[in-house]
Subunit: 871 residues, 2 copies
């Protein structure tokens, strides 16, 4: 014999598969001895059997249901159809996962023309009893018999109209009696049958209706969208009715065991005296804060509080509890994990840990990346957000939310900011020259580019919210853009959600933040477990300080080229590139060296002696060159060259595929003096800062774009020469390291050779991904979107490390490098490294550190700690 029915006292919270979420929790609470109205659950297996065998409740099921009803009667002293003390029950569906669209609830089942009188007598309230009865008729008709709810509601409306009344609560007992009579008439007319007076028949029909609703269209669609299996089925919970509307010592409410917005400890919620749950929802009366209950019904309040605390301890989670007080007796109708804001989620977990409810391991494992991320950035108020419809979306490149006026050039943005406006920079894509414009903006939107595009990287680095690759956005001119038939003009107010990638017209109020998350405490905990350290990708003192504050152990990637994009320096750098001779180049380099040295000193001081990896010039030279004839003319004038000279040199440096062009140490091979200048500046700055402070600088010089051991050795030798000269001039000894980026597939294959010359490796996963997948980060969003939609990619490979390709290359390189030097320091400074999905993989590679933009550090550290615990 199969077992189709479990009493609440027979189940437990582990049986969600069999009893559904609601049933399992009711059983669990019953087991804990909490005051749960008695009841039982018909299992999901019964549902599946029913659906697969001709939609018939088999006798075995009916027998077991009847046996459970008998036990219910024995326990409550009430009986179905009893004229003194009738058994009334609620019937609710409850699958493993909460699922809207399924048949929900039938209350008051067991009422009929006879028992309604008993209810009136027992409650001393005829109006209440007939209201209950008409509700049963209505709910049963609608959800069990599939009748149109309007047919019922219309009768109430008509009655109110005739009597000139506005609200349901103005209707009298007689009115409800009339309605009951009319409802029964509707049954006859629509169904050619009477409303079933037999409570058993009511019950069977209700159970069948719940089972059948598993396969209604809305439920199926929901399951498909949320990837929930069709083979779970739903359980049915049958539970004795309790009434919160038996007068002033009754009531009903919903409480969270802690504040779901902020996470503060203590009950949070509301209740109504002399009311049923529906009344709270109906909004006819204003519920009172739960704290008031402490005065009105102090004993019950205390009991509720204790129960909530116990439930938290039991479930290790904040609970969302429905309760009813029937004539001073507290009943718990439901408990489940409470929904909460990201900020609350973190606070609650930390408090649980401190209160001893969860241990360190559970704390580490249960923090979710999205919560941590959201906690670091401002967000729109969730309720307000629901009132707005997004008109454009793109890649969520940098989290956070902001509102501002649209501007289309860095100049216009800067001017608007100076006028006191909040600015959203809207561009086709950004280039290094837009840096100042980005810095003054609240948000950056681009129509092109992927998660590792310039706009995305810079915005993330600055902690500015950004949405990139908005394919439907067409930036037409310097003061206009369109999205379909919608127009964005200069000054148009936009709200940008960098966490979801959605963009809205108009202003959306921000979430109110009254507490902050104690990140410092978390860092200490994570650091106790994580085997891989986290550094920051940062070069400005500001970013470096942010990185350190957010838990970085050092700088993993300082991009020296960023320092050249400031307007005043850009001209100098252009002069360098346009120089006709080595002598002219050396002349410019002399000036640039001083500038760089000062930059490095600021950097070192911000990093306070922590490890600092500085990458020598990486991007294609032509990125620095004037664009278009006008800029060429301007630059020519400024540098005292002819237009033709500038134009020709610029054209000459243009490349068809700049990502695969004249970059990185290829510059070092062609113009050794540039890298020598940078090395000198790095070393001399280190000497001076070491002398002026009580910490020591040991710079790590990183050479990008290596493909060959000889190539690296050659460039290293030329740098070493410059360094030795600098050290001699400063009469100072200094520890330093010279390593390389590993970012080109070939380097991974010849890593053992390269490791003979390099002090460290740092993987540049962006470039490695571009080359391993043949996918330009600038041109990729269109392709990646198609591949995600087609299910070819599970994730954007620029966001989540591609293990099969890029990961395999990294493994090769690590094996190669460590075969020569088992202690070779290995890091990763690409963006994908910090993604939680990538970290488990990285954790197995036994690298030393990853480096990411400051605001991604906490999440990276957490995921590393989680991965370490899993090992």
């Amino acid at each position: 014999m199969n077992r189709w029915v479990y009493l609440f006292s027979e189940g437990s919270k582990e049986q969600k598969d069999l009893l559904g979420g609601k049933g399992a929790n009711l059983a669990e609470m019953t087991k804990l001895g909490l005051p749960v109205p008695t009841g039982f659950t018909v299992t999901t297996e019964a549902c599946l059997y029913y659906l697969n065998h001709g939609n018939q409740l088999i006798d075995e099921m009916k027998d077991q249901v009847m046996a459970a009803v008998e036990k219910l009667s024995a326990k409550t002293g009430k009986k179905f159809g009893d004229l003194d003390n009738p058994l009334l029950v609620s019937v609710r569906s409850g699958s493993k996962f909460s699922m809207p669209g399924m048949m929900d609830t039938v209350l008051n089942l067991g009422l009929n023309d006879q028992t309604v009188a008993a209810l009136a007598e027992n409650s001393q309230n005829e109006r209440f009893a007939y209201d209950c009865y008409r509700r049963l008729l209505q709910m049963f008709g609608n959800v069990v018999m599939g009748m149109d709810n309007n047919d019922f509601e219309n009768r109430i409306t008509a009655l109110k109209k005739v009597n000139n009344l506005s609200f349901d609560n103005e209707l009298t007992a007689d009115h409800w009696k009339q309605i009951v009579s009319e409802y029964k008439e509707i049954y006859r007319k629509k169904l050619q049958r009477e409303f079933p007076q037999d409570p058993i028949e009511q019950l069977y029909l209700a159970i069948e209706a719940v089972f059948g609703s598993w396969n209604n269209q809305r439920a199926k669609t929901y399951r498909r969208l949320h990837d929930i299996s069709d083979d779970l089925g739903t359980a049915v919970n049958i539970q004795e009715m309790v009434f919160g509307n038996f007068g002033e010592s009754s009531g009903t409410g919903v409480v969270f065991s802690r504040n779901p917005s902020l996470g503060d400890p203590g009950l949070f919620g509301e209740y109504l005296i002399n009311a049923q749950g529906e009344d709270v929802v109906a909004g006819v009366r204003t519920p009172k804060p739960i704290q008031v209950l402490a005065d009105e019904l102090p004993e019950q309040y205390q009991q509720l509080k204790t129960i909530c605390e116990n439930l938290e301890k039991h479930y290790h989670d904040m609970q969302d509890v429905e309760f009813t007080i029937e004539r001073e007796k507290l009943f718990i109708l439901q408990t489940r994990s409470g929904k909460r804001t990201s900020k609350a989620a973190l606070t609650i977990l930390l408090d649980f840990y401190k209160e001893g409810i969860i241990d360190e391991k559970e704390l580490i494992n249960r923090i979710e990346a999205k919560d941590l991320e959201a906690a670091l950035h401002p967000n729109f108020d969730e309720k307000e957000l629901k009132l707005h419809e997004s008109f454009l979306s793109g890649l969520a490149a940098s989290p956070g939310a902001a509102t501002g006026a649209a501007y289309f050039t860095a100049e216009a943005a800067t001017e608007a900011k100076a006028r006191g406006e909040r600015v959203v920079l809207v561009r086709e894509e950004t280039s290094p020259e837009d840096i100042e414009g980005i810095a003054v903006s609240e948000a950056v939107i681009t129509s092109r580019g992927g998660m590792t595009s310039h706009a995305a990287v810079v915005a993330r680095g600055m902690g500015i919210c950004s949405v990139v690759g908005c394919e439907r956005l067409t930036v037409l001119e310097e003061n206009k853009a369109t999205v379909g038939d919608k127009v964005i003009e200069e000054g148009t107010i936009l709200s940008v959600d960098g966490t979801t990638g959605k963009i809205y017209f108009g202003e959306i109020p921000m979430e109110e933040v009254t507490n902050t998350v104690a990140l410092d405490e978390l860092h200490v905990i994570w650091d106790r477990h994580a085997q891989i350290k986290v550094r920051a990708n940062a070069e400005t003192p500001n970013d470096i300080e942010t990185g350190m504050a957010l838990g970085a152990v050092g700088i993993g990637l300082a991009r020296t080229e960023h320092m050249f994009f400031e307007k005043s320096r850009l001209l100098q750098f252009r002069q360098l590139i346009l120089a006709d001779s080595l002598d002219e180049r050396l002349e410019v380099l002399k000036d640039l060296k001083e500038v760089q040295k000062q930059d490095f000193k600021f950097m070192y001081e911000a990093a306070q002696g922590k490890a600092t990896t500085i990458r020598l010039l990486d991007p294609p030279l032509h990125e620095f060159l004037p664009k278009g004839a006008d800029e060429c003319r301007e630059v020519a004038k400024e540098l005292g060259k002819t237009f033709n000279e500038v134009k020709r040199k610029t054209d000459n440096l243009a490349e068809v595929n700049p990502m695969l062009g004249f970059r990185g140490l290829r510059l070092g091979v062609a113009y050794p003096e540039i890298y020598q200048m940078q090395a000198e500046a790095i070393i001399e700055a280190a000497c001076e800062v070491t002398k002026e402070n009580d910490f020591t600088i040991q710079p790590e010089i990183m050479i990008p774009f290596t493909i060959d051991a000889q190539e690296f050795a050659r460039v290293r030798a030329s740098i070493e020469e410059a360094i030795q000269k600098s050290l001699k001039e400063h009469e100072q000894a200094l520890d330093y390291q010279i390593g390389t980026m590993i970012e080109i597939p070939r380097a991974c294959f010849v890593a053992a050779e390269i490791a003979k010359h390099a002090d460290f490796f740092s993987f540049g996963t962006n470039d490695l991904t571009q080359m391993a997948l043949g996918l330009s980060r600038d041109d990729s969003p269109r392709i990646i979107n198609q591949y995600l939609e087609a299910g070819i990619f599970a994730d954007d490979p620029f966001q989540v490390l591609d293990e099969a390709g890029v990961g395999a290359l990294m493994k090769l390189a690590i094996e190669g490098g460590r075969s020569v030097n088992p202690k070779l320091k290995i890091g990763i400074c690409g963006e994908a490294a910090a993604h939680p999905k990538s970290i488990a993989f990285l954790n197995n590679l036994a690298i030393d550190y990853i480096s990411c933009s400051p605001f991604r550090i906490p999440q990276a550290k957490m995921t590393l700690a989680q991965a370490a615990l899993k090992k």
Copy 2:
């Protein structure tokens, strides 16, 4: 005791290290019993010892030299300083490799004031004797004592002036006596010493001078340029003098054992009766063709002929032989491998093989790639070439030579060709739209782009000579280019050498070609050995036929996109790309399908049923789009669209790094209907051609740019669907295969997965190289040149497969693919595969075929046969 001296009778041809090339050959001939004047060799070891130990001839060496001289005397009956029968010798240097700049020859050593009289007496020719003596004085003074040759020559000039004479041979015995006296005076004046009268002293000084000349500046420079070690040293050959000027039964000459220009069998060369070798060089008398000797001295001619034939058989090579006849007695003074033209080299080897001189293995191994290549293309006449100086050079992209008038656009080239001009197309770089312009040109020159640039690939495919990446060339406008201060205008006559990469002003006459190489015979021989087959990269019927004629077993790569660049089709294709809807696209595809089908039918017919691999559309779509506003306007007009529509779509498709962009099967994912159309055209054409002919077509459909198994499976499925539809419509069964290019690093790592869905792999080494090395082929020449100069690269990785990176990726892919399907067919269709240096590596990978442009096929087949023999 070290052995420093070898008699000719004691050495052999294997001892070139010890005896130098000349000494080893003289010893070999002596051993063979040929009439070589007696002599001995002082070893290279003696030279090195001398140079490393204070430049002193040690006694041990002197003793051994004297012992050898004794033996010489014993054999010849002549003695140093003997007044009746004086021993006279020549002294020549001879290192392992022939090396200009070293001390060459001292003749007549052993003459002095006494022995000159004996020579006069013996020769019955006083004038001859004193001429010999003054030559000794002059040569000895110049090359042994380091005196200025002009000091000597001036005396002869002065004497002729005084006597009003023009030529040396007008000088009498008395004149030469006077000159001898004046020369001795010069010794006294310049050296403060007498000319050494002691023959032994002369000999030691000459030996020391030869040793010392190893380290003179010219020799050192030559060695450095030709990568010859400084540690070889030179030997010294001392040999009895024989004289071809002892009257009418004496003579001297140089013969090749076969014609060095054309390779025809039979002696080839010239001689003079009653003359010494120098006289031939001096050009005073006109030498006679060697065949005349058969009449003048028939016995000696026959002897010489037999000796040459024997030397060929012995050395397995065509010989360059110096001989002298002294009073009817033939002497062989030297033999060495004869220099020859490329065409002669091939003819000679094939003849050797047929004559049984060499076997098949030797034939295969000894053909040099450059000779084979040169034999396939026209070349400049070598002598004429020496008269011209190249003003520009670049990468030798496609071999051959041509002269024509410079034109700067495809249109201008086509018009000039129509006027009957021969054309050289000069461009910054070419694009697919230039194809017609290239086809009408004799040669193509570009200022940018590498060995795999568009111009290079297309020119190679068409067998048109081409030089690309001429960095110093600046193409200014549509009718002008400059190289430094030199200007190329429209119509400027240029001569282009695609084999050396050099470009000349003016016309250079072509080499006369009177024979052709029997390639067919070679193919049969190669095919007997090579394990890897060779296919052609070709799509036009013309190229396919060329490929088959040059030995291809099939087509390894037919690029369907090339078919769209014809003007009429380009418009249709543009309409496709610019289409706004699927319906519009399908409409255009209907027309394009018919066009493609016809193309494929022509292809199949040209290939005559041989294997045919057709690659589906590969390049970025925007390559097909109009460039610039004018073209957009034009296209808009032609297609009935607005300028803005065309412009926006064009801009939208533009990519920052097109090589890593929206290409290959990414198009197939986005627009399945395009690949479906191509697959239908391929299959339907195959059905029809199979029906119409007595051969069967089994097309191999190749999908480019795969990175993922699911991606490939998805595109394959959509193609299969179309194919099945076509086969059903044609009511025909047909074998076909669907495979993939492996050209992106990730594909190599997931090859096992891909192989589950693919029928074959074909490596695209160009793209694989671009991505493995992070090196855009379009932008690479500047970088590659720097890397070659710096010694970081041994070869251009686009020409010679990079084994460490690209090769390692290929190994992974082959292992992966074969692990799933041990019989997986694997080919390579990149250009680097066909390079001789790559083939040994490929041979070990056990691939099935390589595919290259038609004109590279013979060389590839040869190198494959050579590699197979080595295994």
